[in-house]
Symmetry: C2
DNA sequence: ATACACTGTTTCATATTATGAAACTTACCG
DNA sequence: CGGTAAGTTTCATAATATGAAACAGTGTAT
C-alpha cells in the first residue's frame, strides 16, 4: 500500500452527487491531512484531469473519469456486446431497460436505455443497488451457489432492510422467491426497492457458467408484472441468454451432453 | 507533483478498449518502472476498486470508475439537467441524440440516446471527437471568441486533418462554415467526421453566456441535413436553449436590455 | 522427466520524496 | 483598516517509496 496513492484515491471518493465541489480545507479536514498535503495531491490529480478546478478555486471530479469508463473491462467485455441486444429489447417493450453486473453484495448499473419518465431523475448508470430487492439483484442471487446467499443474508436481519412495504425482509421469504425465480428463469420486482416501480429481470452467465450480472425491464406500469408479464419475461430471458452466449456461456443442455460424453 | 500518485494515474491511463487487460510486466515495461513498484501501485489501486485482477492475474480497470462518473461535475450540473430534454428530442426525431462538453480542442460525449443502428458499435459516451469536423464541435467553435478559433486552427494545417473527403481542411473554409452556423444558430455535419453520418448541432451556454458544449441529432439518413433539416434543426436549437436556461444562461435580448439599463 | 524461462510476489536497506510547520498571498468581511 | 479565512509556496526532516535480489509458482522445451 502506497500511502500517497491511497490518499489521492480517498480524495476522489470524497466527491458525491450532493457535493460535487469541495474546497481545499474541506478536503483536508475530512481526510485529516494537512492543507499542504491535500494541495500537493490535488495538483497531481489536476495535472492528469482527474480533478478540475472551478472559478471559485473549489475542486471537482474531472472529465477524464468519464473518458476512462470506455476502457473499463466490464464495459468492453459485457456492455459493448450487450448494448445492441438491449436496444432491440427496449424497442419491443417501450419501457426502461437496464444492464447490471454484480459487485459483491450489490449490483452496479452499467448501461441503461431509459424512458422519458424515468429520466426525470438522473440516469442509473453508475448507481449501485442491493441484490435482495431488485429484479436484477435477485436474478443474480437465484443462480448463485446457495451457500453464498446464506452467507449474505441468513441470520443477518439488518441485511434485509425494507426500502418499501413490499420489500422481502425475511430470509425464508427471499429463499422462496429465489426458488420460484429459478424455476421460471426470471425474477419479478413488485415495488420492493422503489414504490410504483415494477421490474422483470433475467440472469447473465459467463464462459464458466457463473452468474455475472443481469438485465431487466423496468417501469411505472403495474401491468409489467401483470398482463404484460408473459411477453416481457420471455423478452428479457431471451435477451439475457443472447448476452450470455456472447460472453462465452454454453447453454446447459450442451454442457450436459458434454458431461455425458466425458463420462463415457 | 507527487511522483507515486502520478505513476498510479499513468497506470490507469495505460488501459484502452483495445487492451483492457494488462499484465504486471507489460505495465512496468511500458512505464519504465520496476516490477516491484508497479506491483505496489497496482495493489493500492486494487484495494480501492480502481483496478481489478483477472483469473489469469492480469489487471484491468475496475468498476469503481463507472460509479465515480455519477459524481463528476459535468454529469451532475449538465447531464442530469439535460437528459430529460434530450429524451424528448430523441422521441420526436427517431435518430441518435448526443450531449457533449468542450474539453480543450476536443469535445467529450457525456450522454447519448442511441438508435439501434448506431449501437452496432459501442456507445459514444466517454469518447472524444475533434471540434472542427463534428456538428457538436463546430457549434462550440462558432460561439467561441474568434481569436481562440484562430489560435487553434490558423496557420496550423495539420490541425485540420481530413477524416473523410468531406472534412473541411482549410481554415478559411472552416471560418465560412462557422459564420453561416452563427447566423443560422445551428451547425451541419455532412459526413465530415465519418462517412454516411449526418448531424445537426446546437450550442449550449452557461450562466456567463459562454459556450460550454453542444447537443446534436445524428444518423445515417442523408435527409437529416436535407428534407428533414428544418424540423430537426429547430428541435436541437430549442433543446439546446432549454438546456442553456437550466445552466443559468440568460438569453441575449435580456442581457442587451440589462446593458441598456446599466448604460443609463 | 528435468531444467529453463517466464510469470507474479515478497523482502528489505537506503536513497528518495512526501510531509507538515510556517510564512506568504489574496480575498472577503466587519 | 485590520482581522479572518481562503489557497499557495517554501523547506528541512522524518517518513516511505524504490529497486535489487531472492522466492514461488507455471508452462514450455529440451
Amino acid at each position: 500500500m502506497i500511502a500517497s496513492v491511497a490518499k489521492a484515491l480517498e480524495i476522489l471518493n470524497l466527491f458525491s452527487t450532493a457535493e460535487p465541489c469541495l474546497t481545499l480545507t474541506t478536503i483536508s479536514k475530512r481526510l485529516g491531512m494537512h492543507k499542504s498535503t491535500a494541495h500537493h495531491l490535488l495538483n497531481t490529480l489536476l495535472q492528469y484531469g482527474f480533478i478540475e478546478q472551478q472559478a471559485d478555486d473549489s475542486y471537482a471530479l474531472g472529465k477524464t473519469i468519464i473518458a476512462l469508463t470506455q476502457n473499463v473491462l466490464v464495459n468492453v467485455e459485457l456492455r459493448d456486446r450487450a448494448a445492441p441486444l438491449l436496444r432491440e429489447l427496449a424497442d419491443t417493450c417501450n419501457e426502461s431497460v437496464y444492464l447490471t453486473v454484480r459487485d459483491g453484495d450489490r449490483v452496479l448499473y452499467i448501461y441503461a436505455i431509459e424512458s422519458s419518465q424515468r429520466l426525470l431523475a438522473r440516469t442509473a448508470v453508475g448507481d449501485y443497488a442491493p441484490l435482495y430487492c431488485t429484479a436484477v439483484g435477485k436474478a443474480v442471487l437465484a443462480f448463485l451457489p446457495p451457500e453464498e446467499v446464506s452467507r449474505l443474508y441468513a441470520d443477518r436481519p439488518d441485511s434485509l432492510a425494507a426500502f418499501t412495504p413490499h420489500t422481502l425482509t425475511g430470509f425464508r421469504q427471499l429463499q422462496d422467491d429465489l426458488a420460484r425465480s429459478r424455476s421460471r428463469g426470471y425474477t419479478v420486482d413488485n415495488q420492493e426497492h422503489e414504490l410504483n416501480t415494477f421490474c422483470v429481470g433475467a440472469p447473465i452467465f459467463d464462459a464458466h457458467n457463473a452468474v455475472i450480472g443481469a438485465c431487466s425491464i423496468s417501469g411505472l406500469d403495474a401491468e409489467i408484472i401483470g398482463a404484460r408479464l408473459e411477453a416481457l419475461s420471455s423478452g428479457v430471458v431471451y435477451t439475457a441468454q443472447q448476452i450470455s452466449r456472447r460472453m462465452g456461456y454454453v447453454p446447459e443442455r450442451m454442457s450436459m451432453v458434454r458431461q455425458n460424453m466425458a463420462g463415457k
